[in-house]
Amino acid sequence: MSFTNGIELLEICEKSNKKIYEVMIEKEIEDTGLSEIEIREKMTESLTIMKEASLKGLTEDIKSVSGLIGGDAKKVKERNEKERSVCGPLMSKAISSAMAILEVNAAMGKIVAAPTAGSCGIVPGTLLTIGEEFNLSEVDLINGLITASAVGFIISRNATVAGAEGGCQAETGSAAAMASAAIVELMGGTPKQALDASAVCIKNILGLVCDPIAGLVEAPCEKRNAIGAANALISAEMALSGVGSLIPFDEVVEAMYRVGRCLPFELRESALGGLADTPTGKRIKKEILGE
């Protein structure tokens, strides 16, 4: 059940009439020797950490280590509870949850890198929200995480999920692609639709640079986790409606990798370009790091 890219994954799914998560579980069993029960137990642990991080960020007073961010997720949540949200309650919940988890990460709390710590809010923020809104079971959510991991695996293997290599498109783009595929499968979409949604996610933010202020995983990372959650939901909505991706998933991943390689060093997590290099960005850096 081994696959190395999207085409091979879809072939296996179609031939055996299986969902992406089923194929991914078989691959994991082959690669690691773990049983399905052990794999599911491990993923349940990950899901628990995700739930706790989201709850913590949405209910406690969070302040990041540097003091740059904290409390923003709560603001979005409170507005959604008090007033009519501009983008609808589900979207509002998803973005506040994604922000909450990133805030917990920035405050040295416990999270699951998915696929990285800098993009750790997107997959859980969207999946937990979809789970709540559609009354999904824990087993469903674990299946969703496994589908997400299959997409992340393909991107890691054939391109990169590291901001230092591919910019923010590689981090929050991959996270959104993972989340989107999971949402499509959970909502009854086909494996092909799932990968179309992933492709669209990456296309939507192709070229996005990684320019963290003072080099910290805080700003603009928190807001890009919010937009990543929105990206995942929007792309899933399109795919489930039958809107495909003109460029196939594998080719989009390859394009993302090549664009990442074209990005100068300054725009790949070095904190030397983009927002980090603005007068305000530089002032904040001086204040925090004292340079």
């Binding site: 991914m24 994991e28 690669d31 690691t32 794999i39 491990k42 993923m43 642990e45 990950s46 950490i49 990041s64 280590v65 540097s66 917990v104 990460n105 920035a106 405050a107 040295m108 709390g109 416990k110 999270i111 699951v112 890198a113 998915a114 696929p115 990285t116 710590a117 800098g118 750790c120 997959v123 995480l145 496994i146 997400a148 991991s149 299959a150 992340g152 695996f153 890691s156 293997r157 999920v161 590291a162 230092a164 993972m178 003072a214 080099g215 910290l216 995983v217 805080e218 925090i288 790091l289 340079e291």
Partner: protein
């Protein structure tokens, strides 16, 4: 090509904010803790490159100290490691230093033990929380800690490798990778043995009993 597990993608489970600056730093500290075998009195962390520039904002300092206390990268006590080290009367300090042509996220950990013994470990955090150790006591070597790893420090004499591997054979342990290093012919040497099986402490105990083997450590990190 590395075979990615789904838990490499959805994972690691860790304390934020950065897999390379926090989780990886904690693992580097933990390797030093394992090799020191307790009774640490004083630690100096030499921080190179990005580690040196951003260690405060990323909690790299707290994670390194937590590692020295034996914590794993997903332990929520990492945040309080300074206080806990002080309670254990372990002195620690951080020095930004150019360590030469090494990975941007590299630390040299210099330990003084209560009995006066000193040791040093050089290692890098190479992304996603993964690490590589490249020197122990200034001897160049290489291991990642991704496999259960036994480090044997011994005299460079004929037969010691055979005696060590015979013990592993008795316990049914399969060696995935093995390398040997030495300072000079006939002097102090190291074996690095990475295995496919979990290793019970008795294995290391048996290896330690072999004549002319100075010490053996088990490195198993999350």
């Amino acid at each position: 090509m590395k075979n990615y597990s789904m838990f490499d993608v959805i994972g690691p489970n860790m304390i934020g904010p950065s897999s390379s600056h926090t989780a990886g730093a904690c693992r580097l500290g933990k390797v030093a803790y394992k090799i020191a075998e307790g009774d640490i009195k004083k630690v100096t962390f030499l921080l190179h490159g990005s580690f040196g520039k951003t260690y405060k904002g990323h909690g790299t300092d707290k994670a390194l100290v937590a590692g020295i206390l034996g914590f794993d990268p997903d332990d929520e006590q990492i945040k309080y490691s300074f206080q806990m080290a002080k309670e254990k009367e372990i002195l620690f300090s951080f020095v930004e230093e150019d360590l030469g042509e090494v990975h941007p996220n590299t630390a040299k950990i210099m330990i003084e033990k209560a009995d006066g013994k000193e040791l040093s470990i050089l290692g890098s955090s190479i992304g996603g929380g993964s690490i590589i150790i490249t020197e122990i006591n200034d001897l160049k070597l290489e291991f990642t800690g991704e496999y259960p790893t036994i480090i044997v420090s011994h005299k460079d004499r004929p037969g010691l490798i055979a005696k060590t591997t015979a013990i592993l054979c008795e316990y049914g342990i399969n060696i995935a990778f093995m390398r040997v290093y030495r300072y000079h012919k006939g002097q102090n040497a190291f074996m690095i043995i990475e295995t496919d099986n979990e290793i019970v402490p008795e294995v290391v105990g048996d290896i330690k009993k072999v004549a002319e083997i100075d010490n053996a450590y088990l490195i198993s990190i999350k």
